[in-house]
Symmetry: C2
Subunit: 258 residues, 2 copies
Amino acid sequence: MSDDTGEGEATGTVHLVGSGPGDPELLTVKAKRLLETADVVLHDKLPGPEIIGMIPEAKREDVGKRAGGEWTPQEYTNRRLVELAREGKDVVRLKGGDPTVFGRGGEELVHLARHGVPVEIVPGITSAVAGPAAAGIPVTHRDHASSVSFVTGHEDPTKAESAVDWAALAATGGTIVVLMGVGKLPDYTAALREAGMDPETPVALIERATWPGQQVATGTLDSIVSARDAAGIEPPAITVIGDVAATRADVLEFLVGA
Amino acid sequence: MSDDTGEGEATGTVHLVGSGPGDPELLTVKAKRLLETADVVLHDKLPGPEIIGMIPEAKREDVGKRAGGEWTPQEYTNRRLVELAREGKDVVRLKGGDPTVFGRGGEELVHLARHGVPVEIVPGITSAVAGPAAAGIPVTHRDHASSVSFVTGHEDPTKAESAVDWAALAATGGTIVVLMGVGKLPDYTAALREAGMDPETPVALIERATWPGQQVATGTLDSIVSARDAAGIEPPAITVIGDVAATRADVLEFLVGA
């Protein structure tokens, strides 16, 4: 299945690997092994400084922000992954959190399979779960959250209008977790209030969850924008909206590592 | 913070640890370390046979199904965790997937903090993400899933009526992942069709994701019940509903480990 897609030598495998939220101990055993054995690791900044620092410089390729503040186009990353695999390399594409949760891992997966490159998904702990947990917040609770929804606050800018139906999310009655939602916090908290969500609904913002310098701000749907500004919360951060966000206050005194 | 809550000796810590979906290599580095160093590990059956088999028998306590088919009451588990911590033990409460995603970990967290027991959450990879990934399905996609919602098909039986608003979930337009939803598959697929979801929406069922004997069935909102029966899918399984479920067919030929 490989010789006819490459240059005569066996095609290498691309492992789409999730790094988890940033704490190196929250890497999976498999991710750690693959980082050690891979020939090359393509990464951006989201895995965080500690995990990126574990990868020998000689095998790192940064496909994140480039000099001048521009992003490497997804097309370049897709092409580079195929090229390296066709050279017979064992390639890790390392992504923050989980590769299939808002990571464009799905696009890379389909691109690689279409080009005949063997591809493996190695899931990681999504920050959408680990961020709240690091702040003492379970995303579901038997009594007051029968569902949890993840959305991104940072939508594809080429889309004409918001693809996220905030009113439908509010109507689920479950917890809402927003990834990359610091900048647009005023917009979607307003949308949720307009959809009829109680303005006293608890909200928490967790910046750099599990990284050195983790910071948490709490408030309500009404007050969280002020709380964000007072605490100086900056990206990357996770927003948790729902009754479960109030759990933090109940457990903080005895929470280890928070 | 400990002497006044116990019997004069230092209170031990309880680590609420997620085991991930079942593959021992998808344990986090931290979970593996804690399983090795803990004095005692309370677990049920959900972490799966391979991971439970890694724990020395002398330190295992099974708080899952008991002889006769009854479940250990949650109150017993809560009480036992406090008791062991007050004996000064370093305790792991091992849960399948992530401890805060439908695992009742939130309840244990609050119970422990209320009783003055130091408690740490160690996130694991939720099967809601890893199950679909193991079948070649990313739960989000930039072009056709701007959100993903997790619900349980196995609701608290003491609730008078379904707390899950299937119509609202359908209205989000995002991927829906149902945990423990084999038995009630006919009910909620019907509810989603009644809510106006396209009967041709792709659906996949993944049984024992990442365990030996993983099995996948695919179909549509209309056909998945027959597909479940034809394949003989049994619990535990994950249901993925949404356009992303069709990705499996596109990538299966080159998917490693599926």
